[in-house]
């Protein structure tokens, strides 16, 4: 009857399921805290770890560590583990430019690796080729032999001689630093090596007979043009391996971009009003 309010309160608490819920929760929390505390300051050196350290060592030095080296590796690992944990407690990894960079790079690799088919079927390859035809257009190329002279007169005489008899063209002329025979050299490269004027002149030279003198930055040349290909469109069969490589590269880029766009869509980027740039 005279029960003090204290006992009434206790009774009420003991019979209240919510209080029991809180008490058990606190107990579990405490236990977990104790366990985590114990684990946080517990470093296990087991066989898988040793194997991992030895494999890392072997990867870089091409041999397995001896006993002393393994000891040093373990000691290094333990020290590192302690420092990593302490650093994390201080949140030193937050906003670290190196760590951010590495995490972003790894995620980007993941995006590019996601479900990318490795071999295209014929339709996909054909469509990719059609869409990128311009990239596979052939450059202008030349195939020719030439004999080099330091003056136009001798070059002209050589043209006459070579068209007139069976003289071995290789025995004529001066030594030449660059090639004496060019096969399918691009006009761009030829212009870089011999000068623009040489390429322009070569376009006007008839095929399959000696012509000249054709002038380069170095001197005068007797030239026998074997083939001039103005370049242009190409059939898929002629460049298939290259198209496959590009297609594979494109798949990775596309997967990365698609993944990035999907992620981006989840985020709202807010621009704070800025009066003027710093």
């Amino acid at each position: 009857m005279n029960q003090a309010p204290f006992w009434r309160l206790l009774h009420a608490l003991v019979t209240d399921r919510f209080v029991w819920f809180l008490a058990v929760g606190l107990l579990l929390f405490g236990l977990d805290h104790w366990r985590q505390d114990r684990d946080d300051y517990h470093i296990l050196v087991d066989l898988p770890l040793l194997e991992k350290l030895a494999a890392q060592w072997q990867g870089q030095t091409q041999r397995l560590p001896d006993a002393n080296e393994l000891d040093a590796l373990v000691e290094g690992h333990v020290r590192e583990e302690i420092l990593v944990r302490e650093a994390r407690r201080l949140s030193l990894h937050k906003d670290d430019v190196i760590i951010r960079r590495r995490l972003a790079q790894k995620y980007e690799f993941l995006l590019a690796d996601a479900d990318v088919p490795t071999e295209p079927d014929a339709d996909a390859l054909g469509a990719f080729f059609e869409a990128n035809r311009a990239r596979y257009r052939l450059p202008e190329t030349f195939s020719f032999n030439h004999v080099f002279f330091d003056n136009e007169n001798e070059a002209g005489a050589a043209v006459t001689q070579l068209n007139g008899d069976e003289t071995d063209w290789q025995s004529l002329g001066l030594p030449f630093m660059l090639n004496r025979t060019y096969r399918k050299v691009t006009g761009e490269r030829l212009a870089a090596e011999m000068g623009d004027a040489f390429v322009v002149a070569l376009r006007g030279v008839p095929e399959a007979r000696w012509s000249g003198p054709v002038l380069s930055v170095f001197g005068a040349h007797a030239v026998k043009l074997e083939e001039h290909n103005a370049g242009g469109d190409v059939a898929l069969d002629d460049v298939a391996p290259r198209v496959v490589r590009d297609w594979q590269m494109y798949q990775q880029t596309a997967a990365r971009d698609k993944g990035m766009n999907e992620l981006r869509a989840k985020y709202k980027v807010e621009l704070a009003p800025i009066d003027k740039l710093p």
């Binding site: 890392q56 091409q62 990593v84 590019a112 290789q170 630093m177 660059l178 930055v217 170095f218």
Partner: protein, 640 residues
């Protein structure tokens, strides 16, 4: 019946063993006279190098190879970068992977170096303080290395990315892509010992980094062990100019005397050296070669990533050749018998080789003329610079770091920015004489040192040493065949013939898109009768066919000049081609010597003058206004 079977078996075995011999005989069938000059470079950083990423580079290995093949890519500052002519070969050489953060921390120009952990690392002076500081960095390394190992199977690593890009872009006959990386080692105090490791074909699971060992001798031992497993590689040192004398030291890394076994180890792994690149040219220095009036060429005076002067002795290749001869005479063998190449060391995935199309190498911090110190600042910019300089000097001088990195010197031209990169330049290229454009052929050329370096333009040089070339050899169409038959090409050893003076054949052609040639030279280093090392530079062919003055060993003045206001050039003479057969007039029977060829263009505007011209600024008077672009051959060693 059984006997016959046995016979057939033995016969087929004999036949098969002959087959096994075949591959070794095929390469010798290739005619060396068919070798052509291929151009490339072996020093390219992409976004996978941590320091490059921090400076804004977002180009990866794929972009770097596409650039080399002639496509345009973009600079972090937004402008297009495109080569005048595509390269024939290239190696992407990022700092060894996730460990790339280490050089970034040592490099005081980077943001990461301002991190307390990084400054601690640089400030440590005693070995124990150093260890402590290093330990403080471990959490960062640990985080990354550990994660890498955990995720190796699900995430591609940067190293795999690099190998895959090289394999994808390697196109035998058209373009050669090598796998490589930079081993970014140093002595204790920023004495640059950086090397690029380039693999002939294939690549190991992991690169050997400075965290395994800072001692390059251990890198070479690792390369030896890979070679025993059939994977060949070479390491190519660079920026000896910033090594404070350690790159071509007279001692080993640990301060021991050099021995024959050190020499063998080094020469197995380091047949060539990168003599020129963005951060200066390391051929020689005016104070080392006072009688070479062309020695003051693209000198970069600092230790890498510091403001400290780099010691001259031991930092330049010409002196290294002399040291090598002296070590050989002392019985230690010649550890400095290396050939020469050039490369860019770009950190934006794209080398800048042309003076009139230059973007330096780092990224956003050296992207414009004003940042590079070639274009005058406005007074507002100058004021802002002065203030930030005072503040940062005040801040920096309070830190022990200064003992290691030094403070910027007083700005010699206050109207202009003054940074380390103000002393850099548009250089350089590697040339190799190879049978074909494949990994096998170009790697073999690098190994046998049949290589040359240019300061950017595509000059070509042939250089042979031998006996009895004949003065009319240049009028013979099969001259190259004869030169190979009668002598050795650049990079080779020429056996001495006692009293008979050796002959050298030099042949240089110009780059049609650059300036005409002024002179071809031969540089000789030798040991005289008193045992002292000597060097001399001989002009051997002059533009306009002029004769060399026998007294001065120089070509006559050709009045070559540049109008810096317009960059127009003029000269009395200029050659498309220079050639000479030269007999050494100073040869003394029995001497050992090294000879290399050098050829100079007539002067043109330097990048800094082009920057100023385009911006309408007056040029920075403390930077050279003009440049004589040049080519260097690998040496030929006269052996007794």
């Amino acid at each position: 019946m059984a006997k016959r079977k046995l016979h057939a078996y033995v016969l087929s075995l004999v036949f098969l063993s002959f087959l096994a011999l075949l591959p070794t005989t095929i390469p010798t069938m290739a005619d060396p006279a068919e070798r052509q000059a291929y151009y490339g470079e072996t020093h390219v950083h992409t976004k996978l190098s941590f320091d490059a990423f921090i400076f804004g580079n977002r180009n990866g290995p794929d972009e770097a190879y596409r650039f080399a093949k002639g496509e345009k890519i973009f600079h972090p500052a937004g402008f297009e970068m495109k080569l005048r002519v595509p390269l024939d070969f290239q190696a992407v050489t990022d700092h060894a992977m996730y460990l790339g953060m280490v050089p970034a921390m040592f490099d005081t120009t980077t943001a990461v170096s301002k991190h307390p952990v990084a400054t601690g690392l640089r400030e440590a002076e005693t070995p124990s303080a150093r260890r402590l500081a290093f330990a403080s960095m471990m959490p960062y390394l640990g985080q990354i290395v550990e994660d890498d190992l955990l995720d190796m199977d699900i995430v591609r690593s940067a190293w795999q990315e690099i190998i895959a890009a090289a394999d994808r872009h390697n196109d035998p006959g058209q373009f050669t892509a090598f796998t490589g990386y930079e081993y970014t080692s140093s002595q204790n105090n920023f004495e640059n010992l950086h090397r690029n490791v380039v693999f002939a074909d294939g690549a190991p699971d992991e690169p050997f980094s400075r965290l395994i060992s800072m001692n390059p001798e251990n890198l070479w031992r690792w390369m030896d062990s890979l070679r025993e497993q059939g994977m060949d590689s070479i390491s190519i040192p660079h920026n000896s100019n910033g090594s404070d004398g350690f790159m071509f030291s007279n001692q080993t890394y640990d301060g021991q005397p050099i021995t024959q076994s050190y020499t063998d180890l080094r020469m197995r792994n380091e047949p060539i050296v990168e003599v020129t690149q963005v951060k200066g040219t390391s051929e020689t220095h005016p104070l080392l070669s006072p009688r070479d009036e062309f020695a003051a060429f693209e000198i970069m005076p600092y230790q890498i990533a510091t403001w400290n002067a780099s010691s001259l002795n031991g930092s330049y290749v010409r002196e290294a050749y002399l040291r090598g001869l002296a070590l050989q005479r002392a019985g230690a063998g010649n550890p400095y018998k290396f050939g020469l190449i050039g490369a860019s060391d770009t950190h934006v995935g794209a080398g800048a080789f042309d003076e009139n199309n230059y973007w330096s190498k780092i990224g956003i911090v050296d992207a414009s003329g004003k940042l590079r110190g070639s274009v005058a600042l406005t007074w507002v910019e100058r004021l802002r610079n002065q203030i930030s300089r005072l503040v940062s000097n005040y801040y920096v001088s309070g830190m022990p770091t200064v003992a290691n990195t030094g403070l910027p010197p007083a700005n010699p031209a206050p109207r202009y920015n003054h940074q380390q990169w103000s002393t850099w330049g548009a250089s350089g290229l590697a040339g190799v004489w190879a049978e074909e454009n494949t990994r096998t052929s170009i790697f073999a050329a690098l190994r046998r040192k049949e290589t040359f370096a240019t300061s950017g333009p595509r000059m070509r040089v042939r250089f042979f040493g031998g006996y009895g070339f004949g003065d009319d050899i240049f009028s013979q169409a099969d001259m190259v065949t004869k030169a190979y038959a009668r002598g050795v090409p650049m990079g080779g050893d020429l056996a001495s013939r006692g009293a008979q003076s050796p002959e050298f054949l030099v042949w240089v052609t110009r780059d049609p898109a650059s300036n005409a040639l002024q002179r071809a030279q031969i540089v000789k280093g030798w040991i005289d009768a008193d045992g002292n090392t000597q060097e001399a530079v001989f002009d051997v062919a002059c533009a306009g066919g002029a004769a060399v003055n026998a007294e001065t060993q120089r070509c006559p003045e050709n009045n070559a000049a540049v109008d810096v206001a317009t960059c127009a050039t003029q000269a009395d003479t200029g050659a498309d081609e220079l050639r000479a057969v030269w007999r050494d007039p100073t040869y003394v029977a029995g001497e050992s010597a090294a000879y290399y060829a050098r050829a100079l263009e007539n002067p043109t505007c330097r990048w800094s003058s082009w920057d100023a011209l385009r911006a309408g600024s007056s040029p920075n008077p403390t930077l050279p206004a003009t440049i004589q672009e040049r080519v260097w051959s690998s040496p030929i060693w006269l052996e007794n």
